[in-house]
Amino acid sequence: LSMLEKMRVLLTLFWVVPSAFWMSCKGEFANIGVRHVVVTHQLPNGLNLLMVEDPRLPLVAFQTWVRVGSAGDPPGQTGMAALFEHLYFRGTPRRSGEEIFSFLESKGIESNALTTRDFVVFSHLFMPEHLDGILELESDRLMGLEITEERVKQDRLLMLESRRLRVEASAEARMGEALWSLAYRTHPYRWPVGGYPPDVLNLTEATVREYYKKIYRPSNVTLVIAGKIQPKEVAQKISERYSSMPKLPPYSMEKNVEPPQTEERRLVIRENAVSPRVSIGYHIPSAAEDDSFAMDLVASILFEGASSRVPKELIDRRRLLLAANGMAHTPRHPGLFVAHLVLQSAATEAEVQTVEEAFYKILLEMSRTEVSGEELKAATSRLTLELLDSARSLQGLAQFLGTIQAVLGVTSGFTRDFSKYTQVKKSDIRRVVERYLEPNNRSVVVLLPEKAKAHRLKGEP
């Protein structure tokens, strides 16, 4: 399921109050029972603020969203966006990395960082008394990160260590990487979020510094603050801390349209794995398009729960698979519907083909016959529920707001998408399956077990 889509609908459940108007949409959403109010604000230099006062717990979630992710990495410098997850903790002229750690840890502040194809986010969770300290730290890091060759070198190696841990040791992660690379020929979604190792090793102080100057500016950044705060007071404090940053034009990604896929693409990998696996990807619309809602529902009908279509047919009835999962990835640009099928360890290559055929038959059935009303209603309910679940914590709530702003670029009017899931009809489900999940639009990665050889990259110690 697309997280973004969930977020988009969830946001429709919140009251959005631009600070200029302070108007309430209470009447429209009172029946939902969600009581948050979102306050939006923009500084003259372009820095966006999204705030939610939630006094239930004495905690504040503070997130700095940089609205450029790995898809904005310069060619040949993949891994650049992700490198900042590490560099951001290395220090500024005013404080060393050790001082940053000491400050965060001595206050018991939980900190984290995350990179996706569309954004990078730095987050903190802390008691309200530490808000001033966090504002001082975050404004300092956004304005004056200290970038040296030594730090870049350390973090390059760290990124490769991370890759070994998270990608190379996981069959599913390796296949995911291969699938996106196979499905996209020109669009930067084709490269891994953490970058290609040779590119990472080639990142230098000069290239990193240039990227920082171009991307880490107010017009590309959104601050999201949720918790025990007073929005007006916080907006004032942020204005004092960040207003000295100059107004500069926002980053604009070069137009890069992925050409339509006209025939199936296929890759077979023989690697060290326990059992055969198949990953199948289909190009689908971006988060901005209405069909993305229907694709989320398709994923739910096919994969969510033991009695959804794929587990019921291929795990329970035919016993061809051990596990199956799938979701519609709908990022800022056209995304990918991905199915991941895990066969039993003794499965042969012929059985891999049987599994594929059985899966395609399920899709064909959905493209010819409408799903039942009950099936669609249950899927819609599941999506709504999952969406609400994700906003149960302050960090989750802040992540909702940040993602919608970072991916769709909207700061108001969230409510217009309200009830998009409930507007999807049975005929829409049939239509999108027929249109997008068709053979010429698919890419297939098959992993067959074979002992792999580990290797060290040139340039690594």
Partner: protein, 489 residues
């Protein structure tokens, strides 16, 4: 987009992954927190049953759970895996169509000491959710399985075991658990063995269900937008009248800290050579290391607090005694996680880390040396902690403790942990913070001297054993003959 959420846990050489054991981190709330925090309401409903209500109307969601004090450690001798099998049965073969139609979820979670039956959904559906929860529990009273279904269940579980090696830290954690929990009912860990699964019968399944209904203690929790009082009364009545019966003599279920503490003895250190065990595990260039030891348990909250403080100071933060030197002198690992885990009758301290197979020797050597130096200083009484360090670690600990109570689920699980470990229900929420706050330097020194160092160090390493052996040999670290990950099953 969910796929895009590639969470990089932390962004520096040795990430701050302070993962205090599930139970030990339970206990209290920060004083700042206590003033404006709504407390859960707890009521004893029958002899062994309590209900906890936690109202949070901010979102239209509810969670209802019934937790039985019977976990994997209560599996009868020779029937290891029966609790896991029952949990797997409910999660795979028993989907409730009424709940599915609502988009709600139901799950059964099997832990060391408990089994929990939970439903989750929109508050508007609370009546159906409550009915769904008790319908599920009613299955325990019937004979839900036939022979063919049991055999299918076992067959699928056996096939899934083949995938243990694909869990990066699965084998290393499993073997560490078995070694550190030797001579306790927790020795098996959560993963089953092939042999035990093959021997489970329909009768075992039925017996387990009966034992579950007679668990020593039963808790029901209602949390979220749980509605008007009438509904809460109805839920309480259903819980009371469901038919949980006190345990009959001779039936296995539950365990008390006191009883288990008396039964189990921690082996004492006979020499300073750590036990290093290697596991051959496919998985590329990365090796996984788990290293730690058993600790004696105490019912004193202050001693428990000292343990939590030591864990944080020793390995839990980037400035800690192990993380800081590693980050500065040997930055070969992406992360190091420190854990203090407590069950009734078992307390272990460990660190979990990973590095390239070729770098295992230097990394293990560095951690061992840090521990040995500290142990030597403690035994020579040369070891000092200043007041500033004492205070800063306390602040870090308390701050992160409050942050960790950010959802109703964490509050409830901590409450249950406290109940199971016997250090108070809702009344213990402040006591833990006070215990940390009042810790003194002599208490910490006494804890380190008398409680922390003493058990043999256990080191388990999984990866490409050829390369790991070469690396360990170069560092003059002895190790036993490698085992294959399949041998663990």
């Amino acid at each position: 987009m969910r796929f895009e959420m590639r969470v990089m846990r932390r962004s520096f050489d040795l990430p701050l992954l302070v993962c205090f054991g599930f139970f030990l981190s339970w206990g209290g709330s920060h004083r700042v927190f206590a003033a404006d925090w709504q407390r859960p309401q707890v009521e004893r409903v029958f002899e062994q049953g309590e209900i906890l209500r936690w109202m949070d109307p901010t979102l239209p969601l509810v969670d209802f759970t019934v937790t039985l004090q019977i976990g994997t450690q209560n599996d009868p001798e020779g029937k290891s895996g029966i609790a896991e099998l029952v949990g797997y049965y409910f999660n795979t073969l028993q989907e409730d169509p009424k709940l599915r139609a609502l988009g709600a979820s139901r799950s059964v979670s099997v832990e060391d000491d408990t089994v929990s039956f939970s439903v989750h959904g929109l508050s508007a559906d609370r009546e159906t959710l409550l009915a769904g929860l008790f319908d599920t529990l009613t299955i325990l009273k019937t004979k839900p399985l036939d022979f063919a279904a049991l055999e299918q269940l076992k067959s699928t579980l056996l096939k899934r075991l083949d995938h243990l090696a694909e869990s990066p830290v699965g084998p290393v954690s499993l073997l560490f658990r078995r070694l550190s929990a030797a001579n306790t009912p927790y020795q098996r860990g959560e993963i089953l063995s092939r042999k035990s699964i093959q021997h489970l019968t329909l009768e075992d399944f039925s017996r387990w269900c009966l034992a579950a209904l007679s668990a020593d203690r039963v808790w029901m929790t209602l949390s979220g937008d749980i509605g008007e009082k009438e509904f809460q009364v109805r839920a309480t009545t259903r819980f009371r009248e469901f038919g949980f019966t006190p345990k009959k003599k001779g039936m296995v279920s539950g365990a008390s800290l006191q009883a288990l503490s008396k039964k189990t003895k921690i082996p004492t250190a006979t020499n300073s050579i750590p036990r290093v065990t290697l596991i051959e595990q496919p998985g590329g260039a990365q090796a996984h290391i788990r290293l730690g030891f058993r600790l004696p348990q105490s019912e004193s909250l202050r001693i428990r607090a000292a343990g939590a403080w030591v864990n944080s100071w020793l390995a839990g933060t980037s400035q800690s005694q192990i993380q800081k030197p590693l980050r500065e002198k040997l930055p070969v690992s992406y992360g190091l996680q420190a854990q203090l885990t407590e069950n009734p009758g078992l307390l272990t301290w460990s660190v979990l880390t990973s590095t390239r197979n070729e770098m295992v020797g230097p990394l293990v050597r560095a951690i061992l040396e840090a521990l040995r130096d500290l142990s030597a200083q403690v035994s020579r009484q040369e070891f000092q902690i200043d007041e500033k360090t004492l205070s800063s670690v306390k602040k870090a600990f308390l701050g992160s403790y409050v942050a960790s109570l950010g959802s109703t689920q964490t509050v409830i699980s901590r409450w249950l942990g406290g109940e199971i470990l016997g250090f108070g229900g809702a009344s213990g929420f402040d006591a833990w913070v006070e215990a940390i706050d009042l810790l003194t330097v002599p208490e910490i020194q006494s804890y380190l001297k008398n409680s922390f160092f003493g058990s043999p160090l256990i080191v388990v390493i999984a990866g490409d054993t050829k390369k790991i052996q070469a690396s360990l040999t170069e560092e003059k670290i002895h190790f036993s003959k490698p085992v294959n990950w399949r041998d663990l099953l």
